[in-house]
Each structure stands twice: as structure tokens, then as C-alpha cells.
Symmetry: C2
Subunit: 343 residues, 2 copies
DNA sequence: AAACTTTCCGAAACCGCTTTCGGTCAGAGT
DNA sequence: ACTCTGACCGAAAGCGGTTTCGGAAAGTTT
């Protein structure tokens, strides 16, 4: 029988090669390399040396097959931009790091068919768990409960309350924004939001209004809803300031909007933060740190979200009773020049 | 022997379950599901039906083990931002899509140790190939030639010429920028670059200067080198315009810089594009489309890069002779409002 | 010195699948 | 009626590991 040439068949070393070289049996070699106790120190050394000499790389496929776990979790995202999924990936890798688990990232690009396909690919590869990341905080369809592995939804919660979802606490974020502006001595506060159809937009507004109410203040003007863009931030700010020149603080639904608002303020020769303070949402570094002045904003702690998701997956794998429902994770105020005067 | 409870051991269906249910042997079931010809149509139908009934999901681990290929490639990146790696991932997935290959993404975060670790993880999982993505176009250390799988370097080329690297043609990009400004009727062109220590910065400048030379023009002022930031773009533009008020076109080393430059032009009440045209580099959508006016820029065709990388991996897997060296991939001019007057 | 432990090792089963290869059996050829 | 083909199917041998379990050798007790 002719060996098919073509594929660069540089045969990789196998455990029996190691065993043979060390003069022990397959079983002993395995035990030696896995740190099992039933093997004499001298033997173990011999095996390890042999393995190194032929640069043996254990075949995880074989191992996974028998152990019935792959030490791999799937990260199924539809966030093509990557601004949410990458921090989450990093957080998850950190949390898994200790357990030598790796993360398999699939990008469904917001396409249900592709998502189905990738889900299937993950299941066929027998991942131990799946983290689903959406690109907005609106509820998304559940993957269902027939899955043989634990699933955690991050950022976009599942629409099925018996799934476990982790999502940033937008309401708290909105509240935090307003409280910060008040702490900055402002009382004539306006709000430029994004697309009203987003839960995130509404939740943030709700939190903000709550905080204003608690402080006995009223919003200046109406909440301005439109789209999540710098363009809208500019236009909305212009409209607001024309109608309500007394405004001394603007809460924005996103960093993009905030940048637009700051742009307009600059055009209008209103100093930030002296005359008007501005706060954004997301802490999208590239936007927040490059604006003039740098943008105070709310960080949704994506990395932490990823870490927590990983832990929940772990717990579920280990058979602990799985939690359910939407868990709102704390957000964090990041103070920069747009609210606090730089010295 | 007590079955270990704990892990949600919902036993997943196996091929023998299918075989049994369909009343055929394991071998026949396998053949039926894989579309092999040595099985009668009726039998095949029976097997397929059985598989569906118990929602059989083939175990790729087992399959990979025997086929000696995983239909998985690793994407090893150090681009935490994700602005390069995600388009590349998408391109690669597209190219592989047909062959039902999936991509395993690992983020080394620019850390050599982590990179080593992930590389090992990929090899243990027996990926069929590896795509290495850097976050800048400077050469990076090769992973070496001892690897049992094909490797393609993307964006950041390998420092070993016998590796295959795909990187955008920054020189052509620089040239394209200048040619476009000239086509816009400009002749007093300045250049704001980024960090001089980056090959990308120097290559782009080189291309630009070449194009100027070909047109019989001279650069206005010196090439300004500093950092890749909006801040620098603002400052550099201010300096340039003070010293050389005649400038009617600015080539920028990145979109960030270009945004800064546009900002300054706005402050100075110089109209873009009427008085001065500006061109960036990268086509980083979030920056380019939100500036006032939107930014004309050079797109490095990352997605195409990913697709090509995937194809090269395929070829190498199939045993075709592998190419070597650094291949400079074409870039593309994206025209927006900062160079062409909007109607 | 006999009996009993303990320590260390290896044969073999198994994980879930693919593939080879020999066997059955129906229909075709003569 | 009898061989000869094919077409179809299944037993069994792996793929590269882990793990069980029995046994040999060495050390401990009496």
C-alpha cells in the first residue's frame, strides 16, 4: 500500500514512541506524563526525558475522547465590531487560564443561519460549554434547552428566563452618570440618548431620570432619541443648547454621541467642562481618550463579564446547580476631563 | 460502579445508537451518513431518519482522530483591539466556509509567553494550520520551521524569509494617497506621519514621496513623525499650517491622525475639502465615517488578506508546494467627503 | 522463614468513529 | 442449473490516548 504523499506527513510523535524510547509500557508513559503517583520517580524522569527528546505533543483529541471533555468552550458572537466580544474573550481566557481551558471563537455576524451552523460546529467538537455574546443588550432568542452543554448569555440576555444571562446594569449606569454630574455641581442637565428601540437606551434613560428625581431635579428639555452616532450627538446638542442655553451638563447614551456633543460645544465656544460637563457611556477607549477633552464615561466591565461567564460555565460543568435569569452586573464610572477640570 | 453524578451527564447519542435504531451495523451507519456509495438508498434513508430522531451529533474528535485532520485552523493574534484580526477572521471563515473548516481564535495579547502557550494549545488540538496575525506591519519573530502544520503570517510578516507572509502594501498606499490628492488638483501637500519606528509609517511615507517626485512636486515642509494619535494629528496640523499656510492637501499616516488634522482645520476655519483636502489610512470605519466631513482613506483589505491566508493554508494542507517570502497585498482607496466635495 | 503489605509496572479494554476486506445474496450470463 | 458478478452489508482493526486491574518484586511483620 502506497503512503499517500502530498500532505506534509511529518509524522508527529505519539505516546507509544515515548514509551518505547523510555523502555516502558504505554500505560506507564501516560501515567508518568500525567503526574500520576503510581510510577517510580526514576521511571518518570526517563519518560519525561524521552518525551522531550522527540518533542512529544500529546494529542488532545484522543485525550478528550476518553475523558469525555475537551477543556474548550465556545464563544459564539454576533458582534462583528469586536468591541464587546474581545474584552469578554480576554476575561474568559483569564478565568479559564488556570484550568488550561481554551476558547473557540465563532462569529455569526448577526446571521441566524450562520449562528446555527457555528453552534453545530461547536457541539460536534464537543465543547464543554458555550458563551453567547450579543452586540446589544436587547434580549435575543434562546438557543434552547436541548443542548448537552451549559450555556451562558453575555451582554445580550436570552429571552428565556430559565437561561442564565449576564448583562451590564444600564439602569445603574444611567443613575451613576447623573449622580456624577450632580456631584460636579450641575443641576441643569439634559439627556441625549440613542436609538429608542434599544433596551439599553431606555434603561440608561430610566436610571438617569430616577437619579434626577431623587435629587429633586428635573431634566432640561426632553430626552432626545435618535441614532447612536456622532452625527446625532452634534445635532442634538445644537438643538438642545439653542433652546435651553442654561444647560450645564449633558448625559449621553454612548461615547459616540458624547463626542458629537463635545464637538458642538466646541463650535459654540462653550467650554468643557467649565461651562458644560459631558458624560458618555461604553468607555470605548479610542473615542473616549481622543476627544477634547477626554471623555468621562461609564464602563460596562466587559472583561469582568467574561470572567464571570467563564466561572458560571465552570460551575455548571462541575455539576453545581445552574443559576437562572438575567443578572445585572455592576458598571463603573471612569472620570476624565469632560467632567472634571484638568489641573 | 457508581456513575459519577454531577456533570449533567445527558449522554449524547452515538453512532452505534443510530445503527441500532436503524437496524444496521456501525459501519453501514457511518457510510450512510457520510454519503458513501456502498449503501442502498433505502438503507441510507433509514439511517438518516434514525439519526435525526435521536438528534445524533457526530463526534468530530473521534472523526478527526482517525482521519488525522481536524478541519480547524488556529488564528493566533496579538491584536487585542481586534480591528485587524476580526476582518481577517471573517475573510478566513469565508474562504474556509466551503470546506466546512472552522477557525480557533487565540489572543496572545502581545505576550510571547502567552503566544507560546496558545501555540502549544493549538498544536495539541491538532489544528490543520495556523494563521498568525500581528498588530503592526513590523516583522515579528518566526514561530520556527519545526511545526508540523503550515503557518501563514498576516499583517505582521515573519522575520524569516522562508516563511510565507501576507502584508498590506503600505508603499502603494502612500503612493495612492498622493496620487489621489494630485488628482484632486492639489499641489502643496504636507505629510503627517505616525511613529517613525514603525515600518508602516516609513513605507507609507516612502510611497507618498515617490509619487510626489514622479509628479514633479515637492513636499511642503518636513514629514512630521510622532505618535499615532488624534492628539498628534491636531498638533502637527496646527504647526504645519502656521508655518506653511499655503498647504492645500494633507496626507496622514492613519485615520486617527487625519481626524485630528481635520479638527484643527475646523478650528482654523479652513474648509475641508474646499481649502484643504485630507486623506487618512486604515479605513477604521468608526473614525472615518464619523468625522466632519467623512474621511477619504486607504483600506488595507484585511478581509481579503484573511481570505488569501486561508487559501494558502488550504494549498499547503493539500501538499502543494508552499510559497515563501513577504507578499505585499494591494490596498484600496476609499473616497469620502474629505477630498471630494459632497454635492 | 513464612505471610502480608506496598510499590510499581503492563496487558487490555475502551472512548466514537472510519475504513478495509471478506462474506451474502440476488440477478445476469451461459 | 450453475457459475459469475456486483451490490450491499458487517466484523474487526485501528486512530492516540486513559484507566482498570492483576501480578511481580521488594519491603515489613511476626
Amino acid at each position: 500500500m502506497v503512503q499517500r504523499e502530498g500532505r506534509a506527513e511529518r509524522r508527529v510523535a505519539t505516546l507509544s514512541d515515548v514509551a518505547q524510547r523510555a523502555g516502558v509500557s504505554l500505560a506507564t508513559a501516560s501515567k508518568a506524563l500525567n503526574g500520576r503517583s503510581e510510577v517510580a520517580p526514576a521511571t518518570r524522569q526517563r519518560v519525561i526525558a524521552a518525551a522531550e527528546e522527540i518533542s512529544f505533543t500529546p494529542n488532545q483529541l484522543a485525550r478528550s475522547l476518553v475523558e469525555n471533555r475537551t477543556r474548550t468552550v465556545g464563544l459564539l458572537t454576533s458582534d462583528l465590531e469586536g468591541r464587546f466580544v474581545l474584552p469578554i474573550l480576554i476575561g474568559a481566557e483569564d478565568a479559564f487560564g488556570a484550568g488550561r481551558v481554551d476558547v473557540f471563537l465563532c462569529d455569526a455576524r448577526g446571521d441566524a443561519v450562520r449562528e446555527r451552523h457555528h453552534l453545530n460546529a461547536l457541539l460536534e467538537r464537543r465543547v464543554d460549554g458555550i458563551i453567547v455574546v450579543g452586540r446589544q443588550t436587547d434580549p435575543r432568542p434562546s438557543l434552547g434547552h436541548e443542548l448537552p452543554v451549559p450555556v451562558v448569555y453575555v451582554y445580550a440576555p436570552s429571552d428565556d428566563p430559565s437561561d442564565l444571562s449576564l448583562t451590564p446594569d444600564n439602569r445603574a449606569g444611567g443613575r451613576l452618570s447623573v449622580e456624577h454630574l450632580i456631584a460636579c455641581g450641575r443641576s441643569r442637565i439634559a439627556y441625549i440618548s440613542g436609538d429608542r428601540s434599544y433596551v439599553a437606551a431606555r434603561d440608561r434613560v430610566e436610571g438617569a431620570l430616577g437619579a434626577l428625581d431623587d435629587a429633586g431635579l428635573e431634566l432640561v428639555g426632553e430626552v432626545m432619541y435618535s441614532e447612536w452616532s456622532e452625527h446625532w450627538g452634534r445635532d442634538a446638542a445644537a438643538m438642545l443648547l439653542t433652546k435651553h442655553p442654561e444647560i450645564d451638563g449633558i448625559v449621553c447614551g454612548s461615547d459616540q454621541i458624547a463626542r458629537g456633543a463635545i464637538d458642538t460645544l466646541r463650535d459654540l465656544r462653550r467650554a468643557v467642562p467649565d461651562d458644560v460637563v459631558v458624560i458618555g457611556f461604553d468607555n470605548w477607549e479610542i473615542l473616549a481618550t481622543n476627544s477634547r477633552p477626554a471623555l468621562t464615561t461609564i464602563d460596562a466591565n466587559m472583561q469582568e463579564l467574561g470572567r464571570t461567564a467563564a466561572q458560571r460555565i465552570f460551575e455548571a460543568i462541575d455539576g453545581e446547580v445552574t443559576e437562572q435569569g438575567i443578572h445585572y452586573q455592576p458598571v463603573r464610572l471612569v472620570i476624565r476631563g469632560s467632567t472634571i477640570e484638568r489641573r
